[in-house]
């Protein structure tokens, strides 16, 4: 074999010009293939690591309140965060909120996204570097968001600050809807300005998470969106998301309430009873309320109704706690009828799910028994008619599914909070699809190029075989087997292809280095989202590059098979007699 390798190498050197021309074509093809693959990988990585991870985290827990997708609050459930942080491969869990807002400055107003920054979050060196890379500061620093001497310190992008006509030290207003849907205005102190790495990063308006929670009428017990940062996210994200979803399986919801008439009141518990059309039919059949089941009504336990002297059609007041302003959380409900609670659920009123969950959303509930035990006892007979703590939405494997689910979360049909778990690879599945499509397009283009190149290889080899017919005859006469002749030609082509491919890879590396040094001034251009601070990003992969080299060599060897076999088939006598 060693001799064959030497022969093959010598043959390449014997026909330098031909080898150089053929090799150059193959090197260019390889260079283009590696370049295009690395560029597509660069786009994909930029979108995932610099955009998607900020939009979706490696794994995200999305919460919405009864059809309001921009009311990110699961009231009183902040302890879930600690449980999720203990899962394997979870580096940390970060609370996050992105609120659509209107910024009003000295000159004019503009839309933005109010984002809370958790300043207590411990970040790795890489995450800190990524943050610095994405949000290089022109003035101030992110630490200024915690300044105690200012009401709400804020950081803006340079272009937004210029548009609004504000500079560090200036005040500007921001209008937004809080977590209960109220129109709010806050006056922010601009303490920092950053130059975004790409146009996507232009919109954020950063404030500290603690202050944003206060602005949103939330407190430390309320759970906003959660973003989980994972070790080796690409491999672990889906499995962790499945685990998170299992952990977030909801229980049935309960609420201690006070039910009052104009003359008296009694304390009890409430469960939410669903009011969708199917549930209404079932309630009417199973519990037989006197005036039918529908929104705005309550079914009282028989003994409680008797004690209060209320009848079907009467209105009762149901109070469940206190609002942030100190008002009693009070609702009125029409008594639909009475029911006989099973053992263990005495005093349990069945309340229209919408009103029930609305009352539940206030953090200050009546003291005493939570009523969970009573509701669980009632579940034996009412099961799916009862309202859960929240509705856990199904996983969404594709970007389209995520988009559909986002719309579903905003529908009025939801009477309970909703929770969804996603990975950024599912949310950004369209990016992966796009990358795969670009790779296929590149591959097809390169295959066409190689078809031309390999036609040249075949032609060259046929000429070579013809030119070396007498030499083949000599070698065969000296004892070389037919199979060795075939291998000799295949090795010659393979070596040429390998050297060309390696040259192509080196060339691609040089081109990538050169292109990545160019700085494109495309601030505001949507294409800037594909770059990092105006520079193109290439991500060559070792495995993909090896695969590309193997493909080039394999195709060349395959193309050489025919001429090589023809050379091997020559009889030594005929070959020695051959004259041009």
């Amino acid at each position: 074999m060693k001799i064959l390798l030497l022969f093959a190498f010598r043959n390449i050197l014997r026909q330098k010009r031909r080898a150089i021309l053929l090799g150059t074509a193959m090197a260019l093809g390889t260079c283009f293939l590696v370049l295009a693959g690395s560029f597509v990988s660069g786009i994909s990585q930029t979108l995932f690591d610099r955009v998607m991870v900020f939009v979706a985290g490696h794994v995200s827990v999305i919460v919405g309140d009864r059809g309001y997708q921009y009311r990110p609050a699961l009231r009183g459930e902040a302890s879930l965060r600690d449980g999720l942080a203990k899962l394997p491969h979870v580096e940390h869990v970060q609370e996050t909120m992105g609120i659509i807002c209107r910024m009003v400055g000295e000159k004019k107003g503009d839309n933005g996204i109010l984002i809370g920054v958790d300043l207590n979050q411990k970040l790795s060196a890489k995450e800190l570097a990524d943050n610095r890379d994405n949000f290089p500061m022109v003035a101030g620093s992110f630490n200024d968001l915690s300044r105690p001497d200012l009401d709400v310190p804020a950081i803006l992008s340079r272009s937004k600050a210029q548009f609004l006509g504000v500079k560090p030290g200036d005040l500007f207003a921001v209008r937004f809807q809080d977590s209960r849907g109220r129109q709010q205005v806050a006056h922010l102190d601009l303490v920092g300005i950053f130059e975004p790495a790409n146009s996507f990063m232009d919109a954020p308006l950063f404030v500290s998470m603690a202050r944003l929670k206060t602005m949103m009428d939330m407190d430390s017990t309320d759970l906003p969106y959660l973003y989980l940062t994972l070790e080796d996210a690409q491999h672990n994200a889906r499995a962790i998301a499945d685990s998170v979803r299992r952990m977030l399986a909801p229980r049935l919801a309960a609420l201690p309430v006070r039910i009052a008439t104009s003359t008296t009141f009694l304390d009890g518990f409430a469960a939410g009873l669903k009011t969708d059309s199917a549930s209404r039919v079932r309630v009417d059949r199973q519990l037989e309320p006197a005036i039918g089941w529908k929104p705005g009504r309550v079914l009282l336990p028989l003994d409680l109704a008797r004690a209060l002297s209320v009848r079907p059609g009467d209105t009762v007041e149901i109070s469940s706690g206190f609002s942030h302003a100190g008002d009693t959380v009070l609702d009125r409900a029409e008594v639909a009828g009475t029911w006989s609670p099973p053992s263990g659920s005495a005093g349990l009123a069945l309340w229209d799910e919408d009103a029930f969950q609305g009352a539940r959303s206030f953090r200050s509930h009546l003291s005493g028994d939570t009523g969970i035990g009573q509701v669980q006892a009632a579940a034996k007979t009412l099961d799916t008619l009862l309202s859960p703590e929240w509705t856990l939405l199904p996983r969404t494997p594709t970007t389209d599914d995520v988009r559909d689910q986002m719309r579903q979360v905003g529908e009025r049909d939801w009477k309970s909070p909703v929770v969804a778990v996603r990975t950024m690879y599912e949310t950004g599945e369209m990016i992966l699809k796009l990358a795969a499509a670009l790779n296929i397009i590149t591959l097809v283009a390169v295959l066409v190029l190689f078809l031309v190149v390999l036609t040249g290889v075949v032609n060259t080899l046929r000429m070579t075989v013809r030119e070396r017919t007498r030499e083949i005859g000599t070698l065969r006469s000296l004892g070389m087997q037919a199979s060795q002749v075939r291998v000799l030609f295949l090795l010659e082509t393979g070596m040429l292809a390998l050297l060309s491919a390696l040259a192509g890879v080196v060339g691609a590396g040089l081109v990538m280095y050169g292109l990545s040094q160019l700085s494109f001034r495309i601030q505001g251009n949507p294409l800037s989202i594909l770059m990092v601070r105006g520079h193109l990003v290439f991500v060559p992969g070792i495995l993909s590059t090896l695969g590309q080299i193997l493909m080039v060599v394999g195709m060349a060897v395959l193309a050489a098979w025919g001429p090589s076999a023809a050379a091997a088939r020559l009889s030594p006598a005929d070959a020695l007699r051959h004259h041009e």
Binding site: R102, R175, G181, Q183, V185, A186, D217, D327, V409, E411
Partner: protein, 252 residues
């Protein structure tokens, strides 16, 4: 556009001659917002945005309170002509004429690119949302005032539930007939957010309708919307109007 929700939910009428009492004023305003009959009106909105000039939007509005239904069919500007919105009970759809598709409108979604959201069309009785504010002595914050020379009662109210746009509002109602003359809305932090002026009422079918109102954005100075009603008709409307098929055929 936000004012579409406000005006269409606040078609005021009736005459009240009760003595000034905060709860009575709120009840009067609430009663004014309730329609027993169906309604059709042509609505024109002139939106003025700082640095952007004026944008005129026109639509036909059909409303049926008995089942919380309404239909909005856009007639101007040309780019929006044929688009529309339909609400049936708890379902709210947007219709796009160019794609001939209906898309569910979420509660947080902006309507026609304006600052109105899907949830703005979900009304609750005023007295369930607000109660008169009291001073330190426990008296209602209610006093006489004038708006454009017209004697009014000025009433400050606060929200008793959290799910409201504004936790604090001030109403000026005309002393003569308790019709709304002006209102102001405040944020939790006490910032004036919005002022509405109701400048022209007309009697239609025995009721007073606010034919013209001006909604002023107090946060983004210079932004305002003038709302004009025309062709108001009260009475039973064809049930077919409140269907997707009608909106689709009407937009052709």
């Amino acid at each position: 556009m936000k004012s579409i929700a406000a005006i269409l939910l606040a078609m005021t009428f009736s005459v009240f001659a009760t003595p000034p009492d905060g709860h009575a004023i709120l009840k009067a305003l609430e009663t004014n917002e309730t329609l027993r009959d169906d309604l059709h009106a042509e609505v024109s909105l002139t939106e003025v945005r700082t640095g952007q000039g004026a944008k005129i939007m026109k639509c036909e509005y059909y409303r049926r309170d008995s089942d919380k239904s309404f239909v909005i069919s856009m007639t101007a500007p040309e780019s929006d002509r044929g688009n529309g919105y339909i609400r049936q009970g708890e379902h709210f759809w947007m219709y796009r004429q160019n794609t001939r598709t209906f898309q569910h409108v979420t509660r947080d979604e902006s309507i026609a690119g304006s600052d109105a959201h899907g949830s703005d069309f979900e009304s609750r009785p005023l007295t369930e949302m607000y109660t008169p504010s009291l001073d330190a002595q426990g008296h209602e914050l209610l006093r006489a005032d004038t708006i454009g020379g017209v004697p009014c009662w000025r009433l400050e109210v606060r929200a008793v539930i959290s799910d409201v746009d504004y936790p604090k509002k001030t109403f000026w109602v005309r002393q003569a007939d308790l019709l709304l003359a002006k209102d102001q809305s405040w944020s939790t932090s006490g910032t004036l957010m919005h002022t509405g002026y109701y400048t022209k009422y007309e009697p239609i079918a025995g009721r007073q309708f606010p034919m013209r109102q001006l909604q002023v954005d107090e946060v983004e100075k210079g932004n305002r919307t003038l709302v004009d009603l025309d062709g108001v008709k009260v009475g039973k409307l064809d049930a077919d109007i409140f269907t997707k098929a009608w909106l689709e055929s009407h937009s052709k």
